[in-house]
């Protein structure tokens, strides 16, 4: 009995049109996973550095003086919601919904991403007002090495959302752009995963052990 052809990414709706597009998107997506693994090592090391430097406060302000959990709670809610909305964009792709649905969910994600960044920068500014600047101590250097690195990734994700949104408007749902949507969604979920690490280790861990 002949087996039905399997597609690596049934959610992309590529395979029915031609197998080579499916194959190409498999290669690219796998490559992106490998890239994320490598990026994860960056974050892993920054977490490790933060943990070793929690005590290196050198008489400067520590977690209890600086961290504002209400703001962190708001940022967490916003970022987790943005993961949901980027997932809705993926569903719109999977169920062949009109193109504007994808662009719409991208737009919502972008707004959420930008609000996250605004809250985060406001946090940094209020920390700086309390003397919590990276030049003050090893602990603060480690904090500012890690949390803004995540913020930088969110910024990159926002730029990507804008660029891909424009490309979807211009070129329509080409095979290439569909696989880019998948990768952007992966990247965005990855940012959320890192954020879970940040609230657990940087904020809760910092408040517990710092």
């Amino acid at each position: 009995m002949k087996r039905a052809p399997t597609h690596s990414y049934p959610g992309l709706n590529l395979g029915r049109r031609h197998a080579s597009a499916d194959k190409a998107s498999e290669v690219v997506t796998f490559g992106f996973w490998v890239f994320l693994m490598s990026d994860l090592v960056y974050f892993g090391l920054m977490f490790a550095i933060y943990i070793t430097m929690i005590d290196a406060q050198a008489g400067g302000p520590g977690p209890h003086e600086l961290f504002d959990l209400k703001s962190i709670f708001a940022q967490t809610l916003i970022l987790l919601t943005s993961s949901l909305t980027v997932g809705l964009a993926m569903l719109a792709l999977k169920y062949n919904l009109p193109r504007w649905r994808i662009v719409f969910w991208f737009f919502v994600t972008l707004v959420l991403g930008l609000s996250f960044l605004v809250l985060e920068i406001r946090d940094f500014m209020s920390m700086a007002a309390k003397g919590g600047i990276p030049q003050r101590s090893g602990f603060l250097s480690a904090f500012y090495g890690l949390v803004p690195l995540h913020g930088l990734h969110v910024t990159a994700g926002c730029i990507w959302l804008i660029v891909l949104g424009i490309q979807l408007r211009i070129f329509g749902l080409t095979d290439l752009l569909m696989s880019r949507v998948v990768r952007l969604a992966l990247f965005w979920h990855f940012l959320d995963l890192i954020w879970i690490g940040i609230i657990t280790i940087v904020y809760f861990g910092g408040l517990t052990y710092g």
Binding site: A58, Q135, I170
Partner: protein, 696 residues
């Protein structure tokens, strides 16, 4: 920031140019520095001049700089590596001369000597070994697995661009300003702003960061290529051994390059933004740097040496006319080494304050690596055993490796013992050890690979006589230069010292400098070999493509290969598929039908990012902030603009493929097969008479 960094040119001024030093204070030290700078400038003028004179700019741009063909990118990597090798070797000779001029202070100043060992190490690891390894892998991997290109051809081009621009920074540092004096490891706090406010460490940091990005992208590229683009039937256990070593290297790159990037960027944050990751005050901790650097540094040596093992595996099998002995055990050994390499980093700093228990654990882990390496050595010897050995150039490199590398490996096991390490760390014993593994291990392997695959890349064999001269000079030069260092190291001579007093070191230093001159001659012999081979190329052409009666897929296609590699993607049924096909007598089948083939279009993005990242690094080193910001925006814009390009491939019509392939098949059928006794004779046109008895 300090006030002298606020001008239009940042902190760049006339004092940055070595000629100023020569005018103000003419002495031997300044003359050496100016000669080095002059060599760079003259080199650039000669290259630019001859390109203009021979009207080659257009050709260079169309066929090379904008090409996304993995074969051409591979060749460019190797050319770059050899240029950098020349500088690295020259620096080595100057350092040996400085130490041989003692007892006393020699002819160089301490700072200058420190710059020499820093650039020598940085160049040899990051800009010779890495690009040479990548160059060969780029050329070979798609050909060996039956693919038409790597998974991401444009990213491949960008990787090359970033590696080259980072290497160019080291050349620029000869002419403008100075390089770091902190060794290739650049340990803070010495390289921090408090002790080293100059531009030297900044050149190091940005060269490392940018080339590190290029390397990571290459690692991702190779891993995905081998995992996803293998020809039908090319199961993992049918991969050529070389591909296995590249998979392991790629895994090491993906996981081990980030620590280096993190460490270098944190050092940059300390230096530029006054952070306190590694400073002596306010809670900084330099041990974090040491741990991260070696978390990268140790896997790094294996990501360099594993591909060399792969090359030797191919060479030993081909030139013994046997199948590789113990393929499975070699695969397991390679993977074991890759995994173990992440568990031993601490042996680079046994003396830096851990407890005895921790040192013991890492010492034992280090010794464990000797086991899979030993397995490999025995497998290679068993491959040679009762083979029909031809003493060709790659084989000679391989034999030299087998004997010398074992010495280097054993001295590594000695160093792995923490109690012994306390005695000999930071002496020339260590320098002797790692040169003993890196020269016979990595460099000889790469040169063997260069001799072995050169005919595949360019369509003619390299000159055999000069190849042999080269092997002899490299081997002899290596032994004279580095084996004496074991002895002076045990006698207590510290590494990296520009001056020494104990007269009993002197004889060893003299022998070592003679050896260094022989290594210089060896490098020249490589150039002569290339020159002679190009001159006599008509007598060494191998258009059919299989000059060595080899086993793997890359030999089953024309030499040089067409841009699409395989007219028909092969169906793999065996390990050593091509050897098996030759035994069956259907090595050169005529396909029934041809298909259109897509190959990547030329693109200028790799070159643009090469130039832009070079300017970016220069601006950051010299605190020219407006330029750095401008170039950052340009780089982002270039990349985003590129993503708007819809067409990235061009199609070669089936008819054209058929014409080319059938012309080649005609050549195959009209050529006379050559047996192994006439391998180096002009009648070897690349069609081998299979050596049935020996293969089975």
């Amino acid at each position: 920031m300090t006030t002298n960094g606020s001008g239009f040119f940042g902190r760049l001024n006339w004092d940055a140019f070595p000629i100023t030093g020569l005018i103000q204070n003419p002495n031997t030290n300044e003359i050496v520095a100016n000669t080095a700078a002059a060599i760079v400038i003259v080199g650039v003028i000669v290259v630019v001049g001859s390109l203009t004179w021979f009207r080659l700019w257009g050709l260079l741009w169309r066929d090379w700089l904008t090409s996304a063909d993995h074969k051409k990118i591979g060749i460019m990597y190797i050319v770059f590596a050899i240029v950098m090798l020349a500088r690295g070797v020259l620096e080595g000779v100057v350092m040996r001369a400085q130490q041989a001029a003692g007892p006393g202070d020699g002819f160089l100043e301490a700072e200058h000597f420190a710059e020499l060992f820093s650039t020598h190490g940085t160049i040899m690891i990051f800009f010779v070994a890495v690009p040479f390894v990548f160059g060969l892998a780029n050329f070979l991997i798609p050909l060996m697995i039956g693919a038409r290109d790597v998974a991401f051809p444009v990213m491949n081009q960008i990787s090359l661009g970033l590696t080259v621009s980072a290497g160019m920074m080291l050349m620029v540092s000869l002419v403008v300003g100075e390089f770091s004096t902190g060794g290739w490891t650049a340990y803070p706090p010495y390289t921090g702003a408090a002790f080293n406010p100059g531009v030297g460490p900044d050149y190091w940091i940005w060269a490392i960061v940018v080339s590190g990005v290029g390397t990571t992208l290459t690692g991702i590229n190779f891993a995905v290529t081998i995992y996803k683009l293998r020809a039908p039937g090319m199961k993992f256990m049918r991969l050529p051994m070389y591909c296995w070593t590249i998979i392991c290297s790629s895994i090491l790159i993906v996981f081990a390059m980030p620590p280096l990037g993190v460490a270098a960027l944190m050092l940059a944050a300390d230096r530029y933004l006054d952070f306190h990751f590694f400073t002596n005050d306010l809670g900084g901790n330099m041990m974090n740097y040491a741990n991260m650097f070696w978390l990268f540094g140790h896997p790094e040596v294996y990501l360099l040496v594993l591909p060399a093992y792969g090359i030797y595996s191919e060479v030993f099998a081909t030139f013994s006319a046997k199948r590789l002995y113990g393929y499975n055990s070699l695969v397991i050994a390679t993977m074991s080494i890759a995994v173990l390499s992440f568990t031993v980093w601490l042996h680079h700093f046994f003396t830096m304050g851990q407890s005895a228990l921790i040192n013991a654990v890492f010492g034992i882990a280090t010794m464990l690596i000797a086991i899979p390496t030993g397995v490999k050595v025995y497998d290679w010897m068993a491959t040679l055993f009762r083979g029909r050995i031809r003493f060709s150039v790659p084989m000679l490199y391989g034999l030299s490796f087998l004997m010398l590398f074992v010495i280097g490996g054993l001295s590594g096991v000695i160093l792995a013992n923490p109690t012994v390490d306390y005695q000999v760390h930071n002496t020339l014993f260590l320098v002797a050890h790692f040169h003993n593994v890196l020269l016979p291990g990595v460099l000889f392997g790469l040169l063997a690979g260069y001799n072995y695959w050169f005919p595949k890349a360019f369509g003619f064999r390299l000159n055999e006589f000069w190849g042999r001269v080269s092997v002899a000079l490299w081997t002899g030069g290596f032994m004279l230069t580095f084996l004496p260092l074991y002895f002076v190291g045990l006698m207590g001579m510290p590494r990296r010292s520009f001056s020494w007093e104990d007269p009993s070191f002197h004889p060893y230093m003299i022998v070592a400098v003679v050896g260094a001159l022989i290594i210089l001659a060896a490098l020249l012999s490589v150039v002569v070999q290339l020159w002679v081979s190009i001159r006599d190329r008509e007598k060494a052409r191998v258009p059919v493509g299989d000059p060595w009666d080899a086993h793997t897929l890359e030999w089953s296609i024309p030499a040089p290969p067409p841009s699409y590699n395989f007219a028909i993607i092969p169906h793999v049924t065996d390990r050593d598929n091509f050897a098996a096909a030759k035994e069956r007598g259907n090595a050169y089948p005529s396909p029934d039908a041809y298909e259109d083939i897509s190959v990547p279009l030329n693109t200028g993005i790799g070159f643009s990012l090469c130039v832009l990242s070079g300017v970016w690094m220069f601006a950051l080193v010299w605190w020219i902030w407006w330029l750095a910001a401008l170039v950052t925006i340009f780089m982002l814009a270039t990349f985003i603009a590129w993503t708007f390009k819809a067409e990235t491939e061009r199609v070669i019509p089936a008819e054209e493929v058929r014409k080319q392939h059938e012309a080649w098949l005609d050549l195959v059928h009209s050529s006379t097969p050559v047996d192994r006794d006439h391998e180096t004779a002009p009648e070897n046109r690349g069609l081998a008479r299979p050596d049935l008895e020996a293969v089975t």
